[in-house]
Structures are given as structure tokens and as C-alpha cells.
């Protein structure tokens, strides 16, 4: 089997046994990228030379007997995560030539572990979108069906992993941007608990919702990447000082006695075949010993509305720094400072970004603040309380990741509401700050479906355990014809 198609855990075992070298693995991935990338478009920037250099360093460490699961593993990094010396564009014209002078904390941790960076993955501009079609540079195609979108906003990261152009990837998730593309591309994606992973160096979209997480081929791989990136960071005041457990210990195919909640609101309006696949998975988990019960989270139905107040409000402020003064695009320098800022922003941002900035500016304006921003915050508190209440009765929640299979490129570009509805099942998880995992769950209309597993704050171990169990059931030889 070609090296690049293998999972992280298998490859890392081969590296440990010195069966392969990091250089060998990186060359396999780099040459696969050369063949495959033209059809997929998963990357904004490729870094083959950097990758070779990092692979060489990994080999030197391996030669000295050092080993850890990520040492020598080729990875893709979403292009909103700062990489020192490698341009980080956020898929926006306004940062087209911006090269950060520092590494995001997660990147520093990956480097320390010895991971190899093969490139910066495509995304919707500033992580706003659900199809990667809002990238200012080019769209990304779904490796399972080139006519379809890979989802978004971490579409490049998911497509890179799904097409074996990266063994694993980092994405970011504000309203579903890791889980939804993972579901669409048939890979595993985890949005950790808010505060579990440092956001330092993640170019902010909506600070109170953003979280970095892994996109991988298996649940085990996901645990291995999370192990490296999780933990308190003194550079991020919102990262939480909760001890990081050994996530691999959670990887037992055992759900006996575990209480699975099925939130009924998360099945409303879901494509019937998608709902069926997810129900089948739930039935299989029940068979494996889990206790299944229906639960209700009524406020979840308001989640999308709250999100489209809060996220744009925060983004209108977070994106104010792109003014042409210090870095990035500058247009109209002759027009005075106000004129320059206006021209730079008008030309530098795409339509979707501008729309959200305007919505957010409006929602925060005096006279509207109470009606929109404050009301949405109150709704968010209620939603959080509903999740807390439900989690007194169940250990995890299970539901679909996205309401439909991946749609076609161009299909929803002119229907922003339908596009936003693709995040309806993932957004409540961000609003409540909970961990959410998407695991492949069969096909609908021949396209990948994602099973979403939602846990209590910092209970990634249980979430991963359920995902791992389901993965084992799914992969096991079929008992029925």
C-alpha cells in the first residue's frame, strides 16, 4: 500500500520501527500532492522545501532514538493559523502577501513534536462560509466527488486528508468548520472544548466561538494530534488550565452502560437518508451496550439566529485591524488615512466577509445592541443551560453532523440562507463551548455522511471513545448480508 494512504497511527509505528524514514514518507506525500492537487485545489500555499527540511530534522531525531506519534508525520495547516515565515492569507486578498513573524502556539507544538508541514490549506475567506467557495483564490473540490464541495470553512484541510495529500490536518471551527467538511469528505474531525486548545496565532473570526482542532483519517489519529495541541497556553487567556488526559487511553471499543442522548431537534429537516445512516449507527451503539434515550434541547433551534448575530458582531471588530496601515494590502495611499482604509477594505475583502462585517456593525450599534447582541447573548446562556441540564441525564449526544450530503459547486453560492443552514446542527455546540466530533457514517446518495458526537466540557475522552467504538463497529466484517 502506498505510504501516503496510511493512517497516522500506522505510519508513526513504521517510523518508530525505522521501517520507513520521514524523508521517504514526505517524498511520497509531496509527489502525491503534485499529481493530485491540480484536481482538488486543497492548498493555498505548498511548502515542499520546508517539508523536506523538516523531514530531514525528524529523521535526525529518529536516528537518535527519539520518538513520538507526530514525529515525521506530514500535515496540512489551515491558512488562518499563523506559520512563521510561511505566508498566511486567510484565503483573503487583504492578507495575500502577509508572512507572519511568529508561529501559532499549535504550530509551535507540532514543530516541537516533529510534524512536517506540507502546506497551508484552502478555506472560506476568514473562515466565513461552509463550502470553501468563498476563498478569494480558488475553490476546493470534494475528493469523493469532484463536482461537489468539500464543505467549509476548513474544506482544504478536510479535502487534503481525504485525498491523502496530508496524513492529518489542523482546521478551525467557529460554527462547524471542522466537523461539516470532515463529514462531507468522509474523514474524522474534532472541535475541542472551547479553551482546550490555544487560539494564539489563529486569525480570529469570532473569538468566543473559534477553536482549532484535528482533521484525520481515524479517531485514533485524532486523539494523537489532540494530545499534542491541547493544554493551557500563557499566551491565550481563554485557554483553560484543565489537566490534559491521555487521550489514547480513551480509545476502547466499549460503550457498555454509556448513556447516549438523541436530541430530537437535531433530526428535524435532515435529509432522510442522512438521518437513516445516523439512526443505524445509534442502533449499532445500542447493540454494543449503550443506553439510548431521546432528549430535547429546544433552544438549539434558535442557535443559527444567535450565531448570525454574535459571530458577525465579533468579526466586525476582529477584522477592523485590516486597514492598510501596518501590513497586508494597502490601496489608495494618496487618499488620506480614512480614504486609504476605505479603499483597502473595499478591495481587500470578499462579498461574504463585507456582508458579515456590516451585519455585525449594525448589531453592535447603539440603539440596536440590546435588541440583537444582548438578546443573542441571553439566548446563548439559555442554550448552554439546556445542554448542562441534558448532560445530567446523558454522557454524550449523538446526531448528524450536517443535514444533507455535500452539495454541488455553485449550487448554493447564490442562496446564502440555504448555505448557512448547513451549519444548523454544529453551531449550537460552538455556542455552548462543547467538544464535538464528526466520524464517517456510511453514505447517502452515494456521498459521505457524518455522525456527530457531542460531549460535556473537557470530556473529549468519552467523545473519542464513542467515535472509536463506532469506527470499530463500522469497520468490522458485516454480520448481515
Amino acid at each position: 500500500m502506498a505510504l501516503h494512504t496510511l493512517s497516522l497511527s500506522v505510519l508513526s509505528e513504521k517510523l518508530r520501527r525505522r521501517e520507513i524514514s520521514a524523508t521517504e514518507l514526505t517524498e511520497a506525500v509531496v509527489s502525491h500532492i503534485e499529481r493530485t492537487e491540480p484536481q482538488i485545489g486543497a492548498f493555498i500555499t505548498l511548502t515542499p522545501e520546508l517539508a523536506r527540511q523538516m523531514a530531514k530534522e525528524a529523521d535526525a531525531r529518529l536516528a537518535e532514538g527519539e520518538w513520538n506519534p507526530l514525529l515525521g508525520i506530514p500535515m496540512a495547516i489551515k491558512d488562518n493559523i499563523s506559520t512563521r515565515g510561511v505566508r498566511t492569507t486567510c484565503a483573503s486578498r487583504i492578507l495575500e502577501n502577509y508572512v507572519p513573524p511568529y508561529d501559532a502556539t499549535v504550530v509551535a507544538r507540532l514543530k516541537q513534536a516533529g510534524a512536517v508541514i506540507v502546506g497551508k490549506a484552502n478555506m472560506d475567506e476568514f473562515a466565513m462560509g461552509g463550502s470553501t467557495e468563498y476563498s478569494a483564490f480558488h475553490p476546493t473540490r470534494n475528493p469523493r466527488d469532484l463536482e461537489r464541495v468539500p464543505g467549509g470553512s476548513s474544506g482544504g484541510s478536510a479535502a487534503a486528508v481525504a485525498s491523502d495529500m496530508a496524513v492529518a490536518a489542523l482546521g478551525s471551527d467557529t460554527g462547524g468548520s471542522i466537523r461539516q467538511p470532515a463529514a462531507y469528505c468522509g474523514v474524522v474531525g474534532l472541535k475541542p472544548t472551547y479553551g482546550r486548545v490555544s487560539r494564539y496565532g489563529l486569525i480570529a473570526y469570532a473569538s468566543s466561538l473559534d477553536q482549532i482542532g484535528p482533521i484525520t483519517k481515524t479517531v485514533e489519529d485524532c486523539a494523537l494530534v489532540l494530545q499534542v495541541i491541547a493544554g493551557k497556553d500563557p499566551m491565550d487567556a481563554t485557554s483553560v488550565d484543565v489537566p490534559v488526559p491521555d487521550y489514547r487511553e480513551a480509545l476502547r471499543p466499549d460503550v457498555k452502560g454509556l448513556r447516549l442522548g438523541v436530541p430530537k431537534e437535531f433530526f428535524e429537516g435532515v435529509h432522510p437518508e442522512v438521518a437513516q445512516r445516523v439512526q443505524e449507527a445509534i442502533a449499532a451503539l445500542e447493540e454494543a451496550g449503550a443506553e439510548v434515550r431521546e432528549v430535547s434541547i429546544p433552544m438549539a433551534e434558535q442557535g443559527l439566529a444567535m450565531y448570525y448575530i454574535l459571530a458577525p458582531a465579533e468579526c466586525s471588530s476582529n477584522l477592523a485591524r485590516y486597514d492598510g496601515v501596518r501590513y497586508g494590502l494597502r490601496v489608495g495611499a494618496e487618499k488620506g488615512h480614512i480614504g486609504m482604509m476605505e479603499a483597502t477594505r473595499a478591495q481587500g475583502f470578499g462579498k461574504e466577509v463585507i456582508q458579515r462585517i456590516i451585519i455585525g456593525t449594525y448589531a453592535l450599534s447603539s440603539g440596536y445592541y440590546d435588541a440583537y447582541y444582548l438578546k443573542a447573548q441571553k439566548g446563548r446562556t439559555l442554550l448552554r443551560q439546556e445542554f448542562e441540564r441534558v448532560f445530567q441525564e446523558v454522557d454524550v449526544l449523538v446526531c448528524p453532523t450536517a443535514p444533507t450530503p455535500p452539495f454541488k459547486l455553485g449550487e448554493l453560492v447564490d442562496d446564502p440562507v440555504a448555505m448557512k443552514l448547513m451549519d444548523v446542527l454544529t453551531i449550537p455546540v460552538n455556542l455552548a463551548g462543547l467538544p464535538g466530533l464528526s466520524v464517517p457514517c456510511g453514505l447517502a446518495e452515494g456521498l459521505p455522511v457524518g455522525l456527530q458526537i457531542i460531549g460535556k466540557p473537557f470530556d473529549e475522552p468519552t467523545v473519542l471513545r464513542v467515535g472509536y467504538t463506532w469506527e470499530q463497529i463500522r469497520e468490522a466484517p458485516s454480520q448481515t448480508p
Binding site: 488562518n80 493559523i81 499563523s82 498566511t88 486567510c90 492578507l95 502577509y98 507572519p100 513573524p101 511568529y102 501559532a104 487560539r199 494564539y200 496565532g201 489563529l202 486569525i203 480570529a204 469570532a206 473569538s207 468566543s208 500563557p234 499566551m235 491565550d236 487567556a237 481563554t238 458582531a313 465579533e314 466586525s316 471588530s317 477584522l319 477592523a320 485591524r321 485590516y322 486597514d323 496601515v325 501596518r326 501590513y327 494618496e334 488620506g336 488615512h337 480614512i338 482604509m341 456593525t361 453592535l364 450599534s365 447603539s366 445592541y369 447582541y373
Partner: protein
């Protein structure tokens, strides 16, 4: 009155960059204070403590939780497109406080509306039309804003000055601000309006900027009051605006009109978790608050019998008060200590541009010197010369005296011999004396001091001269 005090912290409000003043442009900067994409603010605990301590010293109620907000506006000196600040009216650290001032022997409370924390912006330099540069060294430096309550309690330029003097003293006592108005680390912006005598209706106000000394505060307010009165008396209307003060020209000029209230779209800063101000924390901070200037001055008058003026001069600055108290603790009589400190020491410090805390002449030196005078070992004149030398070298006065033999001549025979010699050398003066012009004795004493290099006790010298003059008759 709005006051902005730059807090005395090693590092900036949200990053580790130094807060030093006067470095080359854009050298004390990092990705965080430059607002580079992806960076996050981490609050400086020291700065929060400085604000809490100030709020305590100003008798404020302390909020149980410190919250930060974003104040959104576009300006090239603002790296993030928003300033992280405590939203003035909602959740400042301190509210409902007051500061006591004393004017013409009467005490008055000036109520404080809020004490809060925020970050400073960068500094713009404009060159040719269309060309500007920004220095971000100051961006992110912690600032404390202290605002007096409404309706205003300050009714004259003198009260405004006294408020600032007391506030500055408190800030320096707490060591939260260096209080240097001329360097901009303490900036004040009075809001001024006038109204007819007896009216409780407030007039339209103007805000005054660029006041960088107590003197300019008084002059600026006086000018603004007169300007507004003239406008109103000639039937005009005062425009609500921000005005600048020109110290050289002694006039104020319009800077910007507040036609509409800018919408800053405040919202809670999602990058910073609310800071809990616990009772234990408050208690530990309360213990760090020293005796404050007004209380100290009163004690000096009561315990040491100092005049009102002396007490105020000594307590206006924490280090001066500390210096004085150490001298007294070492046994120096309070009034004597006060005179040496406020006259001789202050003059030397001014000449050399040193702070009293850096004085090479310490309270121990001063106590030693005063002891030498009081025991009659050295004369007052020698003492003043010694003072200079000690200030320069930091050596102990008694050591210098011993080494140079500066000890006052108390040997009667030697002094009498010196007196005779002076009289022999000055026959004219002797003649005048005998002719009834006894005031020449002063001149003769001077000659005798000269002959003994100042080591004679002047009183004794005069006595001996008189005795010898009688013999000459």
C-alpha cells in the same frame, strides 16, 4: 475632570514589551501590541492591582469582577481597530469614591465617578501633507482613567489645581504612576462650563487638552472661564467642543467639535475572561496602602508642630515624606530636618536633577551633620560647606570632620591668640569700635572666622574679641 495616569509597570497592559519612555520609535513592540493577526491580549495583573489600590485610596466601591470591553473605532494609531478598555459607565473597577482636598484651611470632598483601566494608543507624527508616521512604543501601555462625578464639585481653578495636587500625591504615594505631567505620564482634561451666580443650571461645557503642568491647568481654566463669560455676556453661545491649550500663547483653540456622539460599539472583550476580585485579594491590597498625604500633613502639624506650609511641602511627595520621617526617627529635631530638606537638599536635588530617593546624602548623613552642629563640634558655616561635599561624595560628615581637623576650636588660649592677632591686623576697626561704632564687631568676627578657617564658635569669638578690645583701649 478626567485624568489619565500611565501606570508604573515593567511591561505593557497585554504583552511583555517594556513601557519605557523615549526609546527609538517602534523598538518596544511585539506581535501582540502591533495587533498582528492571531495575537491575543493577556492582562497584566500588576496593572489591575494598581487600579484597585488607587480605587481603594480614593474611597471607591470595588467591583467584584473586572470586565474588559472593546471600544471600536478606526485610527492609524490604534493597531487593532479597537481599544481594550473598561466600559466607562458599566463595569469600572472603582465607583462612588471621593478625594478630599484642603483649601484655605477648609476640607472638601470631590466625588469620584469612576476609576478604570485601559490601554494607550500609538503616537502619530505628521510631516509633509499626506505623509505621517506612527510610533507604537506607547501602544498597549496601561492607562488608568479617573473621572470626577457629576454634577461637578470643582468650582474654581484653585480647586482644580488642589484636586490634581492631591491626586498626584496619592498616585505617587501608591507608586502607581510617576506623576510626570511634562512627560505625559499624568494627563488631565478638565471639562469647563460657567453659569450665573446662584444658578444650578450647568452651562455648555468645553474640554481642555494639552495641560502639562499645574500652572497650565490654572491658567487654562482661568482663560476658558473668561472666554465663556465673554461669549455669553455678548449674547453668544458656547460651542461644545474639545479645545487645546497653548502655554506659550496663553490661549485655548478649538481642536474638534463634538457635534455627534461617536458610536464606539462597545461589547465585552471575548479574548479576556472576567477577572474575579476576591475579598482576600482586596484585603492583601488594602494592606499595601500607606498613610495618605492629607492625613500625613495633619499628623506633622499635630505631632511635630510644623507649619501648614512645611507640612504640605514635605507630604506632597511620598519619597520626601519618607526621607523626613527617617531623619526624625534618627533623632533630628523635626523643624531642623524640615529646613535642611526643603532648603539645602531641595536646592542640590534641583541643580543635579536627582530624585530625593537617589540622594547621595541620606537621612543618616543629615542626622550625623545635625549632631555635629548641636554638639558644637562644627559651626553652621562649616556645616553648609560639608553638606555640599557630602552630597557629592556620599561620605559621612563626622569622618570628614575628623580627617580634616575641622573640629571647632574650643581651646580658649588658641582662640584668644587669634582674637589678638585680628585686632592687631585691623587697627582701623579697633579705632572705630572705640569711637563708639560697635557694629564693626561683626566685621571682626568675620575676620576671626577667616583666620580660623571657620573653626571658631562665632559666639565665643565675639565674646573674646570684646574682652580683648577692652584691653586695647
Amino acid at each position: 475632570m478626567e485624568v489619565h495616569a500611565q501606570l508604573l509597570t515593567e511591561s505593557k497592559m497585554f504583552c511583555a514589551c517594556p513601557t519605557r519612555f523615549g526609546d527609538a520609535p517602534n523598538t518596544n513592540v511585539c506581535p501582540v501590541c502591533l495587533g498582528l493577526p492571531g495575537t491575543l491580549p493577556v492582562p497584566n495583573k500588576k496593572a489591575v492591582e494598581h487600579v484597585i489600590r488607587t480605587a481603594l485610596a480614593l474611597n471607591c466601591r470595588i467591583a467584584p469582577i473586572a470586565l474588559f470591553y472593546r471600544k471600536n473605532y478606526f485610527y492609524p494609531d490604534l493597531p487593532k481597530g479597537y481599544q481594550i478598555s473598561q466600559y466607562g459607565e458599566v463595569h469600572p473597577i472603582g465607583t462612588h469614591g471621593y478625594l478630599e482636598i484642603e483649601l484655605n484651611g477648609e476640607r472638601k470632598k470631590i466625588r469620584i465617578r469612576r476609576v478604570h483601566l485601559e490601554e494607550d494608543t500609538g503616537k502619530l507624527f505628521h510631516y509633509l501633507p499626506g505623509e505621517s508616521e506612527v510610533d507604537y512604543n506607547r501602544a498597549g501601555v496601561p492607562l488608568m482613567e479617573i473621572v470626577t462625578d457629576f454634577p461637578p464639585d470643582i468650582h474654581s481653578p484653585e480647586e482644580a489645581r488642589e484636586y490634581l495636587v492631591q491626586l498626584r500625591a496619592i498616585l505617587t504615594y501608591l507608586k502607581v504612576c510617576d506623576g510626570k505631567m511634562e512627560e505625559g505620564s499624568l494627563r488631565c482634561e478638565p471639562n469647563i462650563s460657567v453659569a450665573p451666580e446662584g444658578s444650578n443650571q450647568l452651562g455648555v461645557k468645553t474640554e481642555l487638552k494639552n495641560l502639562n503642568s499645574f500652572r497650565s491647568v490654572v491658567r487654562g481654566i482661568e482663560f476658558e472661564v473668561q472666554r465663556q463669560i465673554q461669549i455669553l455676556e455678548s449674547g453668544g453661545q458656547v460651542v461644545q467642543e474639545t479645545r487645546g491649550w497653548s502655554e506659550e500663547g496663553a490661549y485655548s483653540f478649538p481642536m474638534r467639535t463634538k457635534e455627534f456622539e461617536q458610536d464606539y460599539r462597545y461589547f465585552p472583550e471575548p479574548d479576556i475572561v472576567p477577572i474575579q476580585i476576591t475579598e482576600e485579594w482586596l484585603e492583601s491590597l488594602r494592606k499595601t496602602i500607606p498613610e495618605l498625604p492629607l492625613a500625613k500633613a495633619e499628623r506633622y502639624r499635630r505631632e511635630y508642630g510644623l507649619s501648614d506650609y512645611d507640612a504640605r511641602v514635605l507630604t506632597a511627595d511620598y519619597d520626601t515624606a519618607t526621607y523626613f520621617e527617617r531623619c526624625v526617627a534618627l533623632g533630628v529635631e523635626p523643624k531642623t530636618a524640615c529646613n535642611w530638606i526643603t532648603v539645602e537638599l531641595q536646592a542640590r536635588l534641583n541643580e543635579t536633577g536627582r530624585a530625593i530617593s537617589e540622594s547621595p546624602l541620606t537621612p543618616s548623613h543629615l542626622a550625623d551633620l545635625v549632631e555635629l552642629i548641636q554638639s558644637g563640634t562644627i559651626s553652621g558655616r562649616i556645616a553648609k560647606e560639608l553638606f555640599d561635599e557630602v552630597f557629592q561624595t556620599g561620605r559621612m560628615p563626622s569622618e570628614i570632620v575628623k580627617e580634616r581637623g575641622l573640629v571647632q576650636i574650643s581651646d580658649e588660649d588658641a582662640l584668644r591668640a587669634a582674637a589678638r592677632q585680628v585686632l592687631e591686623e585691623n587697627p582701623d576697626a579697633v579705632q572705630k569700635y572705640h569711637a563708639g561704632k560697635t557694629s564693626v564687631i561683626g566685621f571682626l568676627v568675620g575676620q576671626m572666622m577667616k583666620a580660623t578657617q571657620g573653626r571658631a564658635n562665632p559666639q565665643r569669638a565675639q565674646q573674646l574679641l570684646r574682652e580683648e578690645l577692652e584691653k586695647f583701649r
